[in-house]
Structures are given as structure tokens and as C-alpha cells.
Symmetry: none
Subunit: 419 residues, 2 copies
Amino acid sequence: MKSNSIPKIEIIAVGTELLSPHFQDTNSLYLIERLNDLGLEANFKTIVGDDMDDLKLAIHNSLARARVVFITGGLGPTKDDRTREALASVLKRKLLFRADVFEQIHKRFQRRRIPMPSVNKKQAYVIEGSELLDNQKGTAPGIWMETPSNIIAVLPGPPTELKPMFDVYMWPRLLKFLRIHSVRKTLKITGLTESKVESLIQNDYPKDKDLRLSTLARPGQIEIHLLCQSQINSAHAKKKMKALSSTLLFKLKENVFSTSGEELEEIVGNMLRQRQETVAAAESCTGGYLGHRLTNIPGSSDYFLLSVVAYQNDQKSRLLRVPQDLLYKSGAVSSEVACAMANGIREISSVDYGLAITGIAGPGGSTADKPVGLVYTALAGKNHTEVKRNLFLGDREIIKFQSSQKALDMLRRHLLQSL
Amino acid sequence: MKSNSIPKIEIIAVGTELLSPHFQDTNSLYLIERLNDLGLEANFKTIVGDDMDDLKLAIHNSLARARVVFITGGLGPTKDDRTREALASVLKRKLLFRADVFEQIHKRFQRRRIPMPSVNKKQAYVIEGSELLDNQKGTAPGIWMETPSNIIAVLPGPPTELKPMFDVYMWPRLLKFLRIHSVRKTLKITGLTESKVESLIQNDYPKDKDLRLSTLARPGQIEIHLLCQSQINSAHAKKKMKALSSTLLFKLKENVFSTSGEELEEIVGNMLRQRQETVAAAESCTGGYLGHRLTNIPGSSDYFLLSVVAYQNDQKSRLLRVPQDLLYKSGAVSSEVACAMANGIREISSVDYGLAITGIAGPGGSTADKPVGLVYTALAGKNHTEVKRNLFLGDREIIKFQSSQKALDMLRRHLLQSL
């Protein structure tokens, strides 16, 4: 097989649930991103269910129209996991029992002190002439096969298993197709609307066809994805990327919080760690989501000490030291109470910064003058208290996200100013 | 064409952006939901870009393996909108200019007082033998074609154009396939591994081809999706579904927490509301995620009062009343401290139930005898304290999910027992 031509690539996602109105294949997004890094593109995606005939047809068509075929899912132990059998059947190859693979799966269960269910035995059957790829995170090994006409790579469906397996085993084997040097960058923005971002950068859309810019917007966060490719070398690609991203950063300024993939909670965490400062949260309508986000970052115990989720007035006054008359006079959803919560949590936990969120996430709980989406976010530091009144649109989940985003962003902007 | 057999159905989404890492086809979710309402299923989905050869290949394969093919997107006026040309080419039919269609498109621009761009002329070309479907919301008409072997329905990509066009023109034409009455049910399970679920129900996989069972597993939660169809009437489908789900429930017992789509936090919330009881959480490694999940449910303030996320020993002893010598002797990640946290939060908030989570979410923080994934979950009620030692696999996010799932499930099982 020649490796210096651009191969046609197809990704097949297997699973009847992916043909329901409720589930989407997301693994292909990761695979495509990694393929793009090699200068490769996917030509087709197919989604097919567990039905054996359909599955065989899909694999058959893909092998005919694409040279490299990734198949994800259907490697599990259950009766409706049929990828292995279907692929063997299309290729007219045998499935062979491998005692060493069986032993590995067995050991995995032993380590977890769980008896191995008999159904897992089928994961030890291997397609003749295929190479097994070790799965560090689950029981189903991956498969790599090269036939005269195709490269076939089979990956388990769970993303936590698929991603490392692709990166460790498949990426190096795909390097032979590397023909374009790619650089990627994502600018993450908060504090601006999508149309505001659009109007700021409208004259900076690249005309060079090796540069690609796409915008992805959701409430509270806008991402600008940049891809730069060069046939010369990666330094050339990087140089063009730098020119483009510098232009965009000049226009968007401090509204860009991340240029290397980090989420806002990570950026804020890094800033705190660098300054050896600490934060605590007082939450109401977010219910713990701010603490959850802050602690999604490994090592966050360096700077995150405490969150008190006080869902009722009583807890706000007892635990967060919000004066009862303030709650009575201004109401729990007010700028006064938000400030008192931020100062309260700062005092009781002796941190440098207290963040507070109080609002109405809906759908219930609104009044004539306090609609769903009204959220006060407050920041308390040494000799510094500030509060924002926000009116967020969206459902409960979106309002919770935007609230936590705004609180984190208030802290980020404050830290930027006081460098 | 006979219409009394179940047709194979495929949905093709056309657009190069749908082969990027950032965008997903979502139109198919809507089409599948509406097809399901007719008792129909999609067998395949294909995503293909604007490349003419790829597009023709995809359409060619689909027409061969499916009887009804929906194609969405690629009907616009630009150079990379090629669905019409590709379909005509595959079917070996001419594209004919239709003056009346041209006039309609022209009028549309006139109404909006915009000059008609010359590129829009191509939208007035019609595949020989096809029927045009009016687009009230855009310039690209839809297409309906019946050939001896296929029904082909082409829809514009924008959801606001696609949805009404499907509902008004295609739904009535698909009614002739309505011959099956469908019922759906999802059993959600926690507390068992996928393999354990599989071994419990392995003899209950339906042999009746009108019943379908598919399993979707992630750490901490397994879903069994059931579909039951009847050619007689919907009462018959319901009766068969009831028999199947009863069998499964008998095998899986109280490990099934939901049969109507609810998540665990909603089930636990409903149980608490019904009993007019309350809960509070003391969290460490979950960082607020338990509170976040509980408060994702509208109206959760009826039963959720407080969560204290104490990320440090100092906060655990000061706010949650965990004795300092216990933290010193057993360590923060221990069954003793988990119990003390659960009892502590219960006392300070005067709730009926205190839930506590303490563990190591990783990747750092482990010791020789306390590995990543070691999590203690505790429940404290009146005269009742229980604690579980868990060893979860996965990354930080998955360990946080499983920890919150286990805590919620402990409360659920306790409430079930004490009905």
C-alpha cells in the first residue's frame, strides 16, 4: 500500500442507542481532531446499530470506499456487542480464542476483587491476522489490522478507553500519512456576546486557505478554533498561526481567558497557585456547581478550601453570617446579600477571596421584580468587595453554568488588574 | 413498492463542517424522533462532506442498503452545495430548469426587498421525475422522489426549515408505513457492573423480534433501553412491554432506580418530597458535585438544605464537627471520618439525612494504602449511620460521578427499606 497519497478515511460508530433521538456519537469528534493534527480529514462517518446484517453492510461499504476505517463501540461483553463478529465475517476471517488475553481480562477483575462474569470470555476472541491493542482502562482490547486494501482500527466505545488507546497505539502508526504540518489554537472568551465577538473580528477572517477559523458559541463562553496548515514545515505553520492569533488577541484583549485549551476554572486556579492565594465559595442557586468546577482541576486543594451551599435563608445567616435583617429587607436574591455571602465565606474560612452566587435558576421561584435568570455574583477580597447583577437566559442548567462562569471571571479579571 | 414491510431507513447529513471536530449533525435526532413516532427506526446514518465523489458514493451506498433515504443539507445556492447534482448523477436523471420555481425564489427576495443573487438560480433546477416541496422558511425547496426501489426525501439543512417541511409534507406521506405501534421504556440501574447486569438477564433477551433490548453502560450507571412493537395495536405493544420489563425488574430488583427516564437525583428527590424529609451533604473529593446534582432538579429547595464542601481537615473539624483526633488517627479518607461528616452535617442543618463523601479523586493524593479511587460514602439518619468503602476506577471526573452516585444510591436504598 502506498502511504504517500492522501487516504480516504471513514469512522463508523456502532450502537443502537446512537440511532435513538437521545444519543450522539462524540468519539468521532476526538478522532477527527487528532486526524486533523496529522493533516488528515475524515471523508465519511457512519452510525449503525447492533443489528448484525446492518453492521456487516456498513463495514462492507466502508471498507470499499475508504482506505482507513475506524470502528468505535460494540466491543463489550454483552450479546448486542457484535463488532468483532461482524468484522470477522465481512473479512471472511476466523475468530480465535486467545488464552493470554483471557488471562489478562481475568486478572483485571481479580485486581478489583470482583468475580469475572462468564460473558466477558467473548472479549478474548481475536480476529485472525489482527493485532490486539492493550486497554489500560477497560476489559475490551482494541484491534489494528492491515489488509492489502485497508487499515482497520477498532476502538472501544467509552471515551476514557478510546482516547488513550488512540493516542498510544494508533497515532504513531498513522504518522506515515503525515504530509501536512498542522498547528491548532483555541481562543476561549467570556464576557462578550457572540455578535460582539463577531463584530470585533469581522475584518480578520483569514483569506489564506491554509488558515481556518471557526466560532463555537454557547451562553457564557465563546470559542474561536484556529487551524493552520503548512506543507513546508511546522515552524512555518506556527509562524502563520502566531500572526493570526496575535491579531485576534489584539482585538479581543482580556476577554480571551485561555489560548491553550484550559477552562476558566483552571486559569483561575493557576493564577491563585502562582500568587499562593486561596478562594472559598458561598453558593445558593448554583447548588455546588462552582465548587465542583473549581475542584475538577487536579491539585485544586492548593487554593480551594471551602464551599458552603446555603439553599435556605436560615443557613445563609447561620453559616455565612449574612445578617437576618438584610435577608428580610433585601431578599436572598439581592446585591446586598451576595456581598454579605462573599465576605462571610471569606471570613469564616480565612481565604484571600470569597466568591458568592445568589439568584433564581428557575423554572420556579421568580417574582414580578425578580425574574428567572436574575443572579447576583460577588467577589470579596481584602479591602475590596464588588458585585454584578446578571440577567441570564436559558434553562436551569445554562443559568447555573453562566452564574459560575461569571463568578470565576470576576475573580480572574480582579487578579489580572492586581498583578 | 409494497408498503407493508418495515423499510430500512437511512439519514445522510451533507456538509464538510459536519466532519470537523466542532460540529455535530443534530437534524437526524429530530427525524429519528418523528420516525419513531410512526413505529419506524433509522438503520444507518451517514455524514459526508461537500466533495462530489464522496457525496455520490455515500448516496449510492445508501440507496442500495436502505429503502427510504433522507438527505439533509447541501441544497443552498453556493458552490459547495451539491446534493441536487450528486443525487441526479447517481440516479442518472437530468436536472431541469423550472421557470415557475425560479419565479418563486425571485419573489421571496422581492418580498424581503433584497436583490436576488445570481447564484440562487441553481435552486430552480429540479431532478427529472421528482416532486418539489415548498419551503416556507427559506429559498431551497425540498425534494420527494419515489423510484421502483427507493423513497428519497431531501431536506434543507437549517433546522428551522427542515422541521416544518418534514412535518407538513413528509410525515403524511410516511403514514402508509404506519403499521406498527411502538412503546419504549428505559430501565436505569446502579450498584451493579455491566457484566453483572448482563449475567442476571442473559436468559431474558427477548426472542420475539418485535422486542428489542439494548444496554448502555457507563461507570456508576447502566441503562437498558427497551422497544416493543405490535402490529395489532398499542395496547398489545404495552402488554408485551409490561411482560418484558416485569421479567427484567424481577431479576434486577431494587438495583433499577428508574423506569420513566428520571435520573437518580430526581428519584431520590421525589422520595424525600413524598416523605417530607430533608437532606444535606458534606463533601470532600466531590467538591460540590453532589449538591450540584441534587439542585439540578427544579424545586429541590423543598428537600435540599445545605452542602458543605470541606476540602481541608481544618474545615472538616470546624464546620462539620469532625473530631480532630479522628482526622489525625484515621486520616481524612476513612470510614470513621465519613461517618462523622455525615452525622456532623445532619446535626448542624437539622435535616433528616446527612450524606458524606470523602476520598481520593486523583490523579495525585494517593498513598500506599489509600489509592486513587478510594472513596468512603456515608449516610446518617435518625439512629442510623452506615458507610461504604468504594474503589472506583476512572479519571477524576468519573470518580466524582461514581462517588455522588453511590451516596445518592445509599439514601435511595435506605428510603426504600424504611417505607
